[in-house]
Symmetry: C2
Subunit: 230 residues, 2 copies
DNA sequence: AGAGAAAATATTGTGCACAATTTTTCGAAA
DNA sequence: TTTCGAAAAATTGTGCACAATATTTTCTCT
């Protein structure tokens, strides 16, 4: 899973940034200043630059020449592309999982379900987001294809950012029963039906999204808020 | 397509390494010494290190701590994983291509077919390899999903290395008619049949492969060659 | 001669200083 | 007060020197 070769502190920095994104503490557009990260994590700036380059390669941050690195902001079309890719890849992976998943792997998936329930009951939104992603990644592991899994890993990371930008503010229902249903079907070896539920699951996710580009004109300015629209 | 942000010479180094791999001048196991690349391309060693990091992220080279970077050598299982991923992704992409491909894109694909024919008639093996990969990438462009395309790009790069290691030495037949057939079907808008032919195409490719791990014991040493086995 | 240790060489890893560029601040003029 | 521009500050980009590690060579002893 680790994307870095050496350097303990380097890995920590890498993981912390990714975790902060998964829990939506880091949201798109935020600037990641090299010096800040360097002093915050007690590493040299060269290390920070290396980590930022890796994150940029994963499309989690966007680097602009001479301007710095910013948490990536997906466009509407990019978001659709990523969700389409996830439908394809995870549809395949869940079918493979139904063939290959070991009892240990099923148990690992159910352990995440329990954590998800707990987080939902406690109303902890941030961990829920992260756990949902971890569920999909753990399910992907069962397909026994590291090349595909790594791709999925990047897609999931970018999905966090998609949700941060486009998830409708009013919805708070979390269809986590989809996850449980999928595990049941995978355990039963019914890959075809599990894949169908995975499709439903993505339908639910996209239904909670408001995938329209928010134009500068559309977003209300101070004037619209304060001058009392009739 | 470019994977690098800035630096003209940097990009050149990146592209040249990738091209050398596509044309099989660089084969798995070769060591890429930083100083050699730096002096060869007249760039600082820091630049070389950056490019090598990117190539490592793309699994084209493998970096070993304190030992350096080597052209990646795919294992049998990794090769299977990559080819499975290509079947999945390219199957999807060719169906999308049948929906969306513009006349210009079809023309671009046919242009590659012409180059392939030319290279085959001239018996130029190296350009043929590269052109075959470029065909698949150009076809992938028609699916209008850059996230998936970038993944495919990495898979194609790794496929060059798979062929370099596992392609059977005796086969020299190149089923390039598959490519032409696929273009015809894409142009006709028959995505389902095009996808079937894509599957056949991969069957052909894998049939030319000898996907067994060559153990150290199996490969004959000098002794076996020179001491005249009876 | 062969094996093993030690020195010499070569290569990778890392921090730092400085250059290039951008962003902010400050002040003067309209 | 606003706007424009120049100076100052902050930030990113880059090369180099040196440290750490690995590899090769050399030398010694059996």
């Amino acid at each position: 899973m680790s994307q870095l070769s050496g350097g303990e502190a380097e890995q920590e920095l890498y993981r912390e940034i990714r975790r902060a994104i998964a829990e939506r503490r880091l949201v798109p557009g935020i600037k990641l200043t090299e010096d800040s990260l360097a002093s915050l994590f007690n590493v040299s700036r060269a290390r920070v630059r290396k980590v930022l380059l890796i994150l940029a390669k994963e499309h989690i941050v966007k680097q602009e020449p001479n301007r710095g690195a910013f948490v990536w902001r997906p466009s509407v079309i990019e978001s659709r592309n990523i969700l389409d890719a996830r439908r394809l890849v995870e549809g395949y992976m869940v079918r493979e999982a139904a063939k290959f998943a070991s009892p240990q792997q099923i148990a690992g998936l159910r352990a995440i379900l329990v954590e998800e329930d707990k987080a939902r009951l406690d109303g902890e939104v941030a961990p829920m987001m992260r756990l949902s992603g971890e569920f999909h990644l753990k399910l992907g592991e069962c397909a026994q294809n590291p090349a595909l899994w790594e791709f999925l890993n990047g897609l999931v990371s970018r999905s966090y950012l998609i949700l941060a930008v486009y998830q409708r503010r009013d919805v708070r229902t979390c269809p986590q029963d989809d996850h449980r249903k999928i595990v049941d079907l995978v355990e039963a070896g019914d890959g075809a039906e599990a894949a169908r539920w995975m499709e439903h699951h993505f339908d639910h996710i996209e239904a909670e999204l408001d995938l329209v580009e928010e134009s500068v004109a559309a977003k209300p300015g101070l004037k619209d808020i304060l001058i009392a629209p009739r």
